[in-house]
Every structure is written in structure tokens, then in C-alpha cells.
Symmetry: C2
Subunit: 225 residues, 2 copies
Amino acid sequence: MSEELKYWYLRDHKLFWTLSMSQIKQLCIIVGYKKAKKGDIIYFSSSDVPRIFLLKKGNIKIVEIDEDGNETIKDIIQKGDLFGELTLENDKNSNEYAKALTDEVAICSFLMSDFENLMLQNPNLALTYTKFVGLKMKRIKNNYSNLMSKDAKTRLFTFIKEWAEKEGKKDGNKVTIENYLTQADIAQIIGTSRQTATQLLNEMEENQLIFYTRKEILIDDITKL
Amino acid sequence: MSEELKYWYLRDHKLFWTLSMSQIKQLCIIVGYKKAKKGDIIYFSSSDVPRIFLLKKGNIKIVEIDEDGNETIKDIIQKGDLFGELTLENDKNSNEYAKALTDEVAICSFLMSDFENLMLQNPNLALTYTKFVGLKMKRIKNNYSNLMSKDAKTRLFTFIKEWAEKEGKKDGNKVTIENYLTQADIAQIIGTSRQTATQLLNEMEENQLIFYTRKEILIDDITKL
DNA sequence: CCGCCATTGTAAACTAGCCGACAAATGTTG
DNA sequence: CAACATTTGTCGGCTAGTTTACAATGGCGG
């Protein structure tokens, strides 16, 4: 890949707007530029050197396996999102990995230490990054506090609404979402069993609120959710 | 309060170790130095100017009220913790306030904008703060993912263990925690009803694992939890 | 186009934990 | 100390949601 191209791969992310070309080069970008296909396991957080990753294309889920072998979805990462050791601390005893959800996935990465150095030289970057992490924290907090206090149906509605807002193609009150999640995935995200999720989705379909297929989800009228 | 004293109030927090006295003065510290008593409501996040707060003494809980009037505990803040708009973004539509849990509570605060300026001048501060926020995010993430997948008993055990580690006075395997929470508070934190929490605590007491009083919690052998 | 595997659909039995409703105990205040 | 408020204890009944188990469907590779 040409140097020029590498540059633009990062350059088009908001976070790096303030950086000069030479600064971006400092990040030794795209050493780990990687492609993957649906279902592939992409990376273990306990890898060699701490890195920060940037998803350029597709969608992935971050999954953790606990002692009992249960899979928990920690996060869904979309095109343009950063992931990895966002805390700037590497944490070895976490058991996380990423799994591709869409057919084509492209990821580039840079070293955490390079990024830290750059932050020391460019306080504006540090500020932007902090706000970035802060925003992510706020989103997580909100999500989870919904999960705690509401019942499964409300959680599903909230999730679909948020998903539609973030990624849906709007046409008046109709929204189309490209569906790269299985019902089992959705169930895990909203913290319920697969069966309950299926039931609720079908119930929504009966009430003409949504139309679910494996490829896409059609929402007839987003305001009714 | 003397300038000297103000200085030390911030100076003894890790985050500010790298700052010079004059830099700390820039923060116009302790404009909002405040004391409060148990049960007092201390601050609404939708206050005039965005601030960051530092709890110097006592314990408080951050609470949110939703549309239906339900109280949710968002966070428990301990001596030395920062709270407020840590994300560096002010967010007006959140309905949070803080409530004193201990008899004496002391808080000092500074303006977010002053802090931002200081970060721009002092990249090291920026880096430290970013790690700080990141760490907080990681803690929240872990807490919540426990809440999702485990049952009430496990959640209570995990909570007590963490509490003991963070604040307990250890004596071999015995740990004493100063108890500033009611059982209703604990129930909210672990996401269950007050009655269930009471039942589980009594069960633990029957099994000689803990001894609960309103003043303190004694753990006979922390390794057995 | 066939067979296979992942995904989705459905139903019955079971259960953790919620809710309502008090009673008892402990603290607090004048 | 008396009266009141807050916190803790306890008990059924109830229900949302889990679990188990299996059937139907759809999509992909050969």
C-alpha cells in the first residue's frame, strides 16, 4: 500500500483531523492492515504489543468468554470506530476477541505507545481523544442502565430504535437497517435468551411494526416504536 | 481558606502531581468548596457552568430519576474520586444529582474550561486524565457485564468482594467495611429488589460468611466469598 | 439442485426474583 | 422518654423470562 493511501486511511477519521501528515506517519500506520470474512476471529486482546485498532469497513463484535465458557457480547463496532485498549492501559487477564459479522472486514491499527507519544506532542489530540473516550463511556452507561431497569420488550425496542438511528437509511418515517446480526446476537446484546428475542421480534412483526429478514430489517414507522 | 490550603487540597490527588503551584492556581480552585450532611442533595448536573468535582471527604451516590420517577444509582463516589462532567462534554438533558451518604461530606470543584486549558498546556496531565477516564470506563464495563449475565446472589457476592477490596480494613482474611449504604442502596447497585437483597444478606449471615450491621460489615474470611 | 448446517419458530415446564403487605427493629427528634 | 421515621425482616402469590427440546426454514457449498 502506498504511503499516501495509508495517510488517508487515518486522515478521514475525525480524531486525526488536527494532525499533520508527518505526525500521522509517526504512527507507523497499517502495519497490521488486515482483511477478514464473516465469522472469522480477528484478534485477541492479549496479543503481543498493545495496539489501538480502527475499523475501516464492515462490522465486528467484541466478545468475551468467561470461566464457564459463556459468550458475552461486549461491544458492536462499526465502520469508523476505534477499538482495542482505549484505556491506554494493557490488561492481560481479559479474554476478549473480535469476530467479523459482515462478509468483508478491514482493520488498520497502530501502536498504543506511538499514539501516546503523539498525544504528548499534540495536546489537542489528547483533548479530542479524551472526549471521544468519554462519549463512548456515556453511551455504555446509558445502554446498561436501560438494561437494568427495563423489561425485555422495552430493551428490544430501545435497541432497535438506536440501531435505526445510527445506521438506518431513512425514508420519511420508514427506516431500513442492514441486518448483520442474528437473533441470537440481538438476544445477547439486550441481555435475554434467544427464544425470548425471537418471540418478541415475531410479536413486533405481527403488530406490523417491523419486518425482519436475515438481510435487513424494515421499520414501517419509527415513531411508533 | 488560605491559598496554601487550596493548593494542597488538589495537590494530594495523583492527577495533579505533575502540576506546578501556579498551574493549580489557574484552576481557580475551591470556588465551590462545599460541605454537606447525610441525606443532603448536593448538586444537579444541569447546574450553571460545567464543572468537575473532587470529593475530599465522605461518600456520595450519583442518582438519576427517569420519566417514571424511578431512582437509579449511577455511581458511588468515594473520597478522592472525581465526578461530574468527566467526559468534558456538558449534557443538559441528564437528570442526575448527588446525595450524601455519610455524615460529613466535603467537595471542591473547578471549571471544566479551566481544566481544558490546563490540559492543552500540559500534555502529561492530558495523558494521565485520559488514562483516568479510561480506567473508569473499564470499571463500569466490567460491573455492568457482571450484572447482565449473573444471578442476584453472584452479583451480591461480587459487589461485596469489590467493596471489601476497595475500602475494607484487612486483618488476615477478615475484612471490616464501614457501611454507609442501606440494604435498599445495595439492592439498587446490584440491580435487584430490596427484599431479595435482604434475603440474600441474611442467608450469607446464616452461613457465617458476613455479619451485617448498619454501621459496618464484617467478613469472616474474604477467600470464602 | 441436493444436502447440510446455521438460523429461526414454537411450546411446555419450571423458577428466580418482583411485588404487595405487613411486622419488627433501630434511629432520630423534640 | 414518647412519637415518629427509616431501615430491616418475612411471607405468599405472581409473572417474566429461562431452559429444554424439537421442528421448520433458509441459504450456501459442492
